[in-house]
Symmetry: C2
């Protein structure tokens, strides 16, 4: 991974969960890193995420919807890790235009800026399994039909395909990762906007029961954030990844009830309740999901290295130590 | 088809090619028809299209991007035929934001207006085969992976899926038709913005050679506009069509060279030239395409009734009679 030393790298959503973990790794690899983040309170940005590296990165607080800022920032960069996004499924239904502006239109304007001002840049785009919708077969590979169940899935699908079309038509090298539930230190735990694991962690640390929707039998796969960061670096470093879509996945898919029990065991105590789906969640639930990630394994050599139990233990340890910085922010501090 | 008598029907893109043909049919069926059209010169709207029915429809010149106008117009309507769109693949690459605003964002705002002000409305959305991209197998059925090759295909894909999600989540009944090359009287013939057949017809009537790109072996299927109108009415009339995507197709796929020869024969003379692809077209060409339309045949009983030769003859007859109204408009009159 010496290919990032002294290279100029920009990360949108760089003060968010995955962005900050990626930034830390890139700083260790000797890169010159610029972080772009809007710090919108409902999203993932939290300055505490970059506390350890804040003096070794360039921080630019701005929104990807700000075309002029992005046009300036993109210039001269070698790599763009394009991670900024609206991630909440429920928010996308309540405010579909905001989701459209961030997840679709801004992606188009970022790509137009690259085409006009920096066509040699290499882009890694953080996409999502959400656009597969309710799986028609399992595990879900990259050829699975796209069938989004909510506005967020549609707009992320558009944002993803802009990257592929700009790769194919204009040669703006882009790779797409369809992430599943990513978790780990620095994830948003105020609420369930990133993944339900976030709010579960917070509730357990507050000594409250966590809620499992439905019958708890829905299967999911989880990616520990360090493994996701590794996948992003592999995509950035490989010309074979250009124009390609890769699923991430796990070797140990698990249902929600078992996940709750594992998290409680790792925490050393706690309780959960099985409750009916809230209507707004039920309408966009997808049932079981787990990915076939053989494509990225065979093409780029990626595989998950952190088992769920170990990842959850590291995550709980992080929030035990830093909780104040993740709850405080909720109270407006 | 008595279910449209005295019903209130709104057609976006209603002064365009398909919209005007649909409007004429609905007027014959006794419906109260409102036509919404922006009359943007590069698009399909042409007031001559509705000359025969202009006193029997309500005409509202406005753009689907005008949220407030649409919110007003949608109220009290029983059916919406949602046909307004930016259709040019090349224009979508040169001006991607306009394509996004019309083909994606406006669809979202129309659906939001329906959800808030007229949730009982039934919508038929005119989508396109474009989002399949280069076929992975032939004929292409509705389960074929989506893999758009240009910005237009991406934005139409988003617009289509908003309809499906609003059907599934909010019960705003919507059916989607993925059209292939539609042709017939009232099509845009100034240029190739709707389909290449348009400019071919004009060139032949002007006594000029038409151009076939590539080797002329690319296979296409064509739908005569009356058959497309019938499919739209069937979708509107059937509750079984709600939330469904249907391909349209033809029984006689044909390559471009043979199409040119057929058109020349029908015209009674003319010539064509095989020329290399222009680069901007080559970059987004999809190779052979023809659809499997068995789903709409089995579910709604639709099948094409007008063979290509007959449809082309009717089309040429129309433009021989009305050419002045389709060329004149180009000169700004």
């Amino acid at each position: 991974m010496d290919c990032f030393r002294d290279r100029k790298i920009i990360i949108t959503g760089g003060i968010g969960f995955i962005g900050a973990n990626l930034a830390e790794r890139l700083v260790q690899l000797g890169a010159q890193v610029t972080l772009v983040d809007s710090l919108i309170p409902e999203y993932g940005g939290n300055l505490w995420n970059i506390e350890p590296i804040k003096d070794r990165v360039r921080i630019n607080i701005s929104d990807v919807r700000d075309e002029h800022a992005m046009k300036y920032l993109i210039q001269g960069q070698d790599f763009l890790f394009n991670l900024a996004g609206q991630t909440s499924h429920v928010d996308s239904m309540n405010n579909p235009y905001t989701d459209l502006e961030i997840n679709a239109r801004s992606q188009l304007s970022i790509l137009e800026a690259c085409r006009r001002h920096n066509p040699g840049i290499k882009i890694v785009f953080a996409s999502t399994r959400q656009m597969y919708g309710a799986p028609q077969y399992l595990p879900v590979d990259e050829r699975h039909p796209l069938s989004p169940v909510d506005v967020n899935g549609i707009n992320k699908m558009a944002g993803e395909w802009y990257h592929l079309v700009y790769n194919n038509v204009y040669g703006i090298r882009s790779s797409v990762l369809r992430l599943t539930n990513t978790y780990g230190p620095r994830m948003r735990v105020k609420d369930a906007r990133q993944t339900f694991l976030g709010i579960w962690i917070r509730l357990l640390l507050e000594g409250k029961a966590l809620q499992v929707f439905g019958d708890g039998k829905q299967v999911r796969d989880f990616s520990y954030v360090d493994d996701v960061v590794e996948a992003m670096l592999l995509c950035a470093a490989s010309e074979d990844a250009n124009g390609e879509i890769f699923n991430l996945g796990a070797d140990d898919p698990i249902n929600l009830k078992d996940t709750a029990e594992l998290l409680i065991r790792v925490t050393g105590g706690g309780e959960y309740r099985i409750v009916p789906f809230p209507p707004d969640r039920k309408a966009i639930d997808i049932g079981d999901y787990y990915a076939d990630y053989r494509k990225i394994r065979s093409k780029l050599g990626w595989k998950p290295t952190v088992p769920l139990e170990q990842g959850l233990a590291r995550t709980m340890a992080y929030y035990r130590e830093h909780a104040g910085h993740y709850w405080e922010a909720e109270n407006g501090a």
